[in-house]
């Protein structure tokens, strides 16, 4: 059928597959369109955060989206496993804990009474951060505890870090690189094997259009390969797409620097997600580990 496929993503470098494909669609050379067969249209939707994308899935206004595992898991749990399915991986790594260079911060215990900024409550980095602190023996609640985890928008993090009003930031590329370059931040934790972006489908879409979803997942895997093999071209497309979406230009060398820390892979990050689930429980966002049997579904 001629049904349009509605796909969401963020204007983030960790959503490289979507950025590249979106830009190709823009140029009329759509990657997915070519591979899903004639007459298929892809509508791209840009979100700035996980909860919005998940809300869009709930409200049935999109079918698929690139998103962090944090919001995806959260949505899965909150809907008792009814609404979302994880159909592929997209990117690992790219996130890091950056600390003030002049502070002696080495282990979780050093963070007692400190302020750590994360991009968003309950997002992937936020949960990693809370879990890491909790594992280190600190007590963390939604609003405070032994250390204060401050969900703060990325641009604000940079200026707060520059003003030394936060002691550390757990965030995602390109902000990790910017914190390093523009604020002299020191990287303390850099987890390359942690999933950063996954491809998620609404359960209903998967049930109704399994064939389309399958083709999409395949095309996604091919695209991932292409990106890994052609980093320069991919980075150009990404830069163009980011400019189109955010009206601000990202320096090519910043993209290149960020690129080094990210691993693009279509492999389903099952282990990472499962340990992530444990972390969510530790961080207190989820009361008990839910049954993950329905979450992973290869179309």
């Amino acid at each position: 059928d001629n049904a349009a496929l509605r796909v969401g993503h963020f204007p983030n470098i960790t959503h490289a597959q979507a950025l590249v494909a979106h830009n190709l669609s823009r140029q009329g050379k759509g990657w997915f369109e070519e591979r899903l067969g004639p007459g298929t249209k892809i509508e791209w939707f840009v979100y700035n955060a996980g909860p919005s994308a998940m809300e869009a899935i709930f409200a049935k206004s999109i079918d698929l989206t690139y998103v962090g595992p944090g919001p995806a898991l959260n949505a899965y749990t909150r809907s008792s496993g009814a609404e979302v399915r994880l159909i592929a991986g997209a990117a690992n790594g790219g996130a890091a804990l950056v600390v003030q260079p002049d502070q002696k911060l080495a282990a979780p215990a050093d963070f007692r009474g400190k302020k750590i900024a994360t991009p968003q409550l309950g997002n992937t980095q936020d949960i990693s951060c809370r879990a890491w602190l909790t594992a280190g023996g600190l007590k963390i609640t939604q609003l405070g505890g032994d250390a204060q985890v401050l969900p703060t928008q990325n641009p604000d993090q940079l200026s707060l870090f520059q003003q030394k009003r936060v002691d550390a930031v757990w965030t995602i590329e390109p902000w990790v690189s910017r914190l390093e370059r523009e604020a002299g931040g020191k990287i303390l934790v850099d987890e390359r094997d942690v999933a950063t972006t996954v491809l998620v489908s609404s359960a209903k879409f998967l049930a109704d259009h399994r064939d389309l979803a399958k083709k999409f997942a395949q095309a996604h895997a091919e695209l991932t390969d292409w990106i890994v093999k052609n980093p320069e071209e991919a980075q150009k497309l990404i830069r163009a797409e980011l400019l189109a979406e955010t009206k601000s230009d990202m320096a090519p060398d910043l993209i290149a620097q960020s690129w080094k820390r990210i691993v693009f892979t279509a492999e389903t990050p099952r282990a990472s997600v499962e340990s992530f689930m444990q972390n969510s429980v530790k961080a207190g966002f989820i009361k008990s580990v839910p049954d993950l049997s329905k979450l992973f579904e290869k179309p």
């Binding site: 909860p51 609404e83 302020k115 968003q120 409550l121 405070g144 401050l150 969900p151 604000d156 009003r165």
Partner: protein
């Protein structure tokens, strides 16, 4: 008594309907949490102190900003009512700025003050001050001139006239202006808290925002109930006594 119990019954039935709709599973639990889960959230959040702390932060911000707003707005309003020039300048400005939703000050406040308490205060003050200016001005202008004449013949002038005649005579207007100022301040603080993180403390708006981020509807609805309760309570604690006094004295509004 019968009326009260009928009304109570109505709300009980409302909650029961809510319960059964959730049980029937017509909507996904992401869209509508059960009354139980909302209750559990509230109990939990009261237990671990989150709710109390957030309420404290919010109420403190609100009260401070509001009081400063009144302290600025009242004299400004008296000034605009007393001078034609002030009316044409400050009065016109107040009129314009009052139509500006005070959320719109948030971006400026953040740039000027950063993510600090001052930014929050600034937004709350901007929500209060213009309403108070306009209410004071209108209040003074609406004083029956006979009061001023009577006071003058008895020798009241200057400060005595302002404090013993003009201010009390315009009280009914002042109070309604202050109520409106409170409503606007309350609204803008909630908007500000939902919109930005402040390093020095999380308020109810933040809890609401986080509820959304976590897609935790029980938290969202629980916090909304708390906000409604606070709204009703402040009305009861702050304004009802003043209004009762006024109605009593002026003999108005007695049903």
């Amino acid at each position: 008594m019968r009326r009260a119990s009928l009304a109570t019954l109505f709300f009980v039935i409302l909650v029961a309907i809510w319960h059964f709709i959730v049980r029937a599973g017509i909507w996904s639990p992401v869209l509508l949490p059960s009354p139980q889960s909302v209750g559990e959230y509230l109990v939990g959040a009261v237990r671990d102190g989150t709710l109390l702390e957030a309420t404290g932060v919010t109420v403190r911000r609100l009260l401070f900003g509001y009081l400063i707003g009144i302290a600025i707005g009242l004299p400004l309003g008296l000034f605009t009512s007393a001078s034609k020039f002030a009316e044409d300048t400050i009065g016109v400005m107040a009129l314009g700025l009052q139509t500006l939703p005070s959320v719109c000050w948030i971006p400026l406040a953040l740039l000027w003050f950063g993510q600090t308490e001052s930014a929050m205060l600034f937004v709350v003050i901007m929500g209060t001050v213009w309403s108070v200016v306009i209410a004071t001005d209108t209040g003074v202008r609406n004083i029956p001139p006979i009061f001023a004449r009577a006071a003058r013949t008895m020798g009241s002038r200057g400060l005595h006239k302002w404090t013993k005649v003009i201010l009390p005579a315009s009280l009914p207007f002042l109070v309604s202006g202050m109520k409106q100022g409170w409503a606007f301040a309350w609204r803008s603080l909630m908007a500000a808290e939902i919109y930005v993180t402040i390093l020095t403390g999380f308020g109810l708006g933040h809890l609401l925002h986080y509820g959304r981020e976590l897609q935790a509807m029980d938290q969202v609805i629980g916090v909304m109930l708390v906000i409604i309760t606070i709204g009703l309570l402040t009305d009861k604690i702050l304004f009802s006594p003043i209004e009762r006094f006024l109605h009593n004295r002026w003999g108005t509004g007695l049903r």
